[in-house]
């Protein structure tokens, strides 16, 4: 059996800012056999996407393939002219992009987009292609396959769109499928369904697939072989089992270490830190907040959370659950509709500008996207200097040395203070954001998904830094994340949000142990583990695909989780208000079921 795609000694160059060409892929060799999935792993800039795209003889604008051979189905792609290559793309090799939402044209019906490549290459009549598409929808577990083709992209969820991307790529039955981080933008619970759909499809069609990702745990579920890349070179290649259990290369080992930080020790219970005894820096009491003027969309409903001094409160939930909104309400950026915010027991105005300077100083916020959270026209010195001027007030020389100190605190060289944000990497920008928050010497920092926009390794370094700062400076965090394992490695107290409501909260150890809220249980079981048989186990044991991605109307009565809940009781859970079940140490679960029933 010969390889579907055989890339040998590939060299790709990109035009640098100076105009000269610099190699970004250096001597990479990858080959994939039918029915096999080969994963390319590495952080951004490692050349993994460039390598994957070259399998279609495609290079991004500004890049060029300068050496090596690329053989697809026995033909050397580099010897073909543009027109012959165009004929191949979409027919023999198809591409699934990271963001399905951006890859679909919002003005064209789904069906026409899915069968586009069969139409372009005139492989089959339109009606046949649409019939084939329906079969693909069924294989991908998409809802209502018969009518799906007539819908528009905005009428389906993100996870469904991502699966439709796969349908689009598979419609012409290509020999090679290139998947570029297809689940990175998805929630953990959605990720599972998309992953298992991909896996079934690839096995079923005997397609060869290249899977590009930075997430080792995801790769463990789907790949047969793994190629680890860094700075355009192959660091290590081998069977999935071998790479995961016995990584040889040092870089692979750091990647492995960064994937899933080990949960924080579970022995917190013994400390006897009864929550009410601690001094609360910030607390919110039955906050309801939303957007829009006339027709309000309620995003947070009746949420109460408190951050004790020097402690880490983790807020977890999937996208759209209102966790970022909570941070914005506390920071005074979004006035709440009802409920109160307290700072050391004192009620706060709901707009930042009306708060006193000392309150503003004590509550700092760090946002998710480092690129847009820093003004690109301000130098690092100005970014760090402004909060110093505003909240601390130092002489010119003291200010300067304080900026140096702050840079050292976030482990950046002091020479960075003359740089513009454009001259920093994503991780460095996030460090500057942290330093900017620290400059005010706050009591609490609201961290809104501070690592989600970063690579695993860089993200782990930021988390380590946060832990260090907490230990040394005693600062508290409200740590918002969709990644349960990050929160579990770090938080003292966990708040689980679903559809704008707190479904469970309590000390980390109690939340991670039974009794669970059904949603917490789903979240916990959805975090990919570094076992190659994990996905199959989860899919076999759980009805994960049911009702996934359904829009939740948070203003409805009853339990918001009703439609996805495995243990829901009809006519109770969807009709009556959810009771709050209290346990010791402030552990609460909002569920109609008795605690004993949730233990199982």
């Amino acid at each position: 059996m010969s390889a579907v795609i055989d890339i040998q000694d590939l060299w790709v160059e990109a035009r640098s800012s100076g105009g000269s060409f610099q190699p970004i892929v250096e001597g990479v060799s990858v080959s994939v056999y039918p029915g096999e999935v080969v994963a390319l792993i590495g952080e951004s800039g490692s050349g993994k996407t460039t390598t994957a795209l070259s399998a279609m003889a495609y290079s991004k604008p500004g890049c060029r393939i300068v050496g090596g051979s690329i053989t697809l189905n026995g033909r050397d792609l580099l010897k073909l002219d543009q027109e012959e290559r165009r004929q191949l793309r979409g027919r023999e090799a198809a591409y699934v992009a990271q963001s399905a939402a951006a890859a679909f044209n919002p003005a064209i019906r789904i069906g026409d987009q899915v069968i586009e490549s069969t139409a372009i290459h005139q492989l089959m009549p339109r009606d046949d292609a649409l019939r084939e598409a329906v079969k693909l929808y069924q294989r991908l577990d998409l809802p209502d396959p018969e009518r799906l083709s007539n819908r528009y992209p905005h009428q389906v969820s993100g996870g469904q769109l991502q699966r439709l991307m796969a349908a689009m790529a598979m419609s012409s039955s290509p020999a090679l499928l290139i998947l570029d981080e297809p689940t990175t933008a998805l929630d953990v619970t959605t990720q599972i369904s998309v992953l298992s759909a991909f896996k079934d499809l690839i096995r079923g069609q005997n397609t060869a697939a290249i899977y590009v990702t930075h997430d080792l745990a995801v790769v463990a579920q789907i790949a047969d072989r793994i190629v680890v890349m860094q700075n355009g070179k192959v660091m290590e290649a081998g069977a999935t089992e071998q790479i995961i259990s016995r990584p040889e290369n040092a870089y692979t080992q750091t990647l492995m270490a960064a994937v899933r930080p080990p949960p924080k020790s579970m022995s917190v219970e013994g400390e006897g830190s009864d929550q009410t005894d601690d001094e609360m820096i910030v607390s919110v009491d039955s906050i309801t907040a939303g957007y829009g003027r006339t027709e309000t969309k309620i995003v947070l409903q009746d949420v109460s959370v408190a951050v004790p001094k020097g402690k880490v409160v983790g807020v977890i939930g999937e996208s759209g659950c209102g966790k970022s909104t909570l941070a914005r309400v506390i920071a005074g950026l979004l006035p709440q509709r009802s409920g109160e915010i307290y700072h050391h027991g004192q009620e706060l105005p709901n707009v930042a500008r009306r708060r006193t300077r000392s309150v503003l100083k004590n509550i700092q916020i760090v946002f998710q996207m480092p690129d847009v959270a820093i003004n690109p026209r301000h130098r690092v010195r100005e970014i760090l200097g402004r909060p110093l001027d505003l909240f601390i007030g130092l002489s010119a020389s003291a200010r300067e040395s304080r900026i140096d100190e702050l840079l050292e605190l976030v482990e950046l060289p002091t020479s960075y203070k003359t740089r513009l944000p454009g001259e920093l990497s994503g991780g460095e920008k996030q460090r500057i954001n942290l330093a900017r928050a620290l400059a005010a010497e706050p009591e609490v920092i609201l961290c809104d998904e501070v690592t989600s926009a970063l690579d695993t390794v860089v993200g782990k370094a930021i988390i380590d830094l946060l832990k260090k700062l907490q230990a040394n400076l005693g600062v508290a965090y409200l740590f918002i994340s969709h990644d349960l394992s990050t929160v579990a490695s770090f938080a003292d107290h966990v708040v689980v949000l679903y559809a704008g409501r707190v479904v469970e909260q309590g000390p980390l150890a109690s939340v991670l142990a039974p009794p669970f809220h059904p949603y917490t249980r789903l979240l916990l079981s959805s975090v990919p583990e570094l076992r190659t048989d994990w996905l199959d186990g989860v899919v076999a044991s759980k009805a994960h695909l049911d009702h996934l991605g359904q829009a939740v109307d948070s203003s409805k009565v009853g339990c918001p989780f009703f439609s996805r809940c495995a243990v829901a009781v009809n006519d109770v859970c969807n009709r009556q208000d959810v009771p709050l079940r209290k346990m010791d140490q402030g552990h609460t679960v909002a569920c109609h079921l008795e605690l004993d029933a949730l233990r199982g």
């Binding site: 640098s16 800012s17 991004k60 500004g62 300077r357 959270a373 003004n375 203070k417």
Partner: protein
């Protein structure tokens, strides 16, 4: 920040100075020199009648011949550079001050004020600008002052739109939220957070608006409402000597060519500027 700011380590002169930029700089530089020193170098005054021959061919009278009154076209072209470019600069500066200030106010104030300002702006923009200028100037008179203010206000509607849109885009960025969570005043946010990020597109727009202003003033002068004779303006010169085309005179073509070359020159610089601001393509590709 001035002393410590350093140039990026890698400076490649090839990409910094493209051929089109150099051509643009040469053309604009040339006309700037002419505007500065032209009147001093001109062999005659702009109103001097140097021959009784209308439309004398080039070389016979002066460098570029004479116009319909027998004045030296070359001298008038030199004088006209100052008048035309000076007026355009004044108009553009005025329209930008007005447009940017009002645009930013609209962007950061509540929806009521913003709505009101934007609708008034839309109403002004709905008129063809040349007709609007004609109406205003035939009502108020044709002095230079009135023309400058009228053209500037009409032009500022375009600037208003752009700066309002730019400011709105930036005011929703996270770093503005960071500033707001720090309790910064609206003034600080506008001037320190928003304004620096709008400078690049605004500067590019300034170049384009500058050439539009030249064309607009030339058009008004051509219609007899702008610069009044005997003052030399390139637009006036085209209008005066249009008849000369019938006699094969270049008196109307020379100022037209001057307007065209200046427009091309400024736009070459603007294009380069926009490309530079567009960011580094290859760096984005590395991700």
């Amino acid at each position: 920040m001035s002393a410590a700011s350093q140039a990026p380590s890698e400076t490649d002169l090839k990409t910094r100075f493209t051929p089109s930029l150099i051509i643009g700089l040469v053309i604009v530089g040339f006309w700037l020199l002419v505007a500065l020193f032209g009147p001093a170098l001109a062999p005659h005054l702009e109103s001097d009648i140097v021959t009784d021959m209308s439309y004398a061919p080039a070389g016979e009278v002066g460098l570029l011949g004479s116009d319909y009154l027998g004045r030296d076209v070359f001298s008038r072209l030199l004088y006209g550079a100052r008048m035309t470019m000076g007026l355009a600069l004044l108009v553009t500066l005025l329209s930008f001050s007005l447009g940017v200030i009002l645009g930013f106010i609209a962007a950061i104030s509540g929806r009521w004020i913003d709505g009101l300002m934007s609708r008034i702006n839309d109403a002004l923009m709905a008129f063809p600008s040349i007709i609007l200028a004609l109406i205003v100037m035939s009502a108020l008179g044709t002095s230079l002052m009135i023309m400058i203010v009228t053209v500037a206000i009409i032009d500022s509607t375009r600037v208003f739109r752009l700066s309002r849109a730019l400011a709105m885009d930036i005011s929703v960025m996270d770093f503005v939220d960071v500033a707001r969570s720090r309790g910064e005043s609206l003034w600080w946010i506008t001037v320190r957070e928003i304004l620096p990020n709008t400078l690049a597109p605004l500067a590019a727009e300034f170049g384009i608006r500058f050439t539009f202003a030249i064309l607009f003033i030339s058009a008004l002068s051509f219609l007899g409402l702008g610069v009044q004779p005997p003052a030399a303006d390139w637009g006036v010169m085209v209008k005066e000597n249009l008849q000369g085309l019938l006699f094969g005179s270049a008196a109307a073509l020379m100022p037209a060519a001057a307007v065209a070359s200046l427009t091309v020159g400024v736009n070459l610089i603007v294009d380069w500027f926009l490309r530079r601001m567009g960011g580094d393509v290859s760096q984005e590709l590395m991700n």
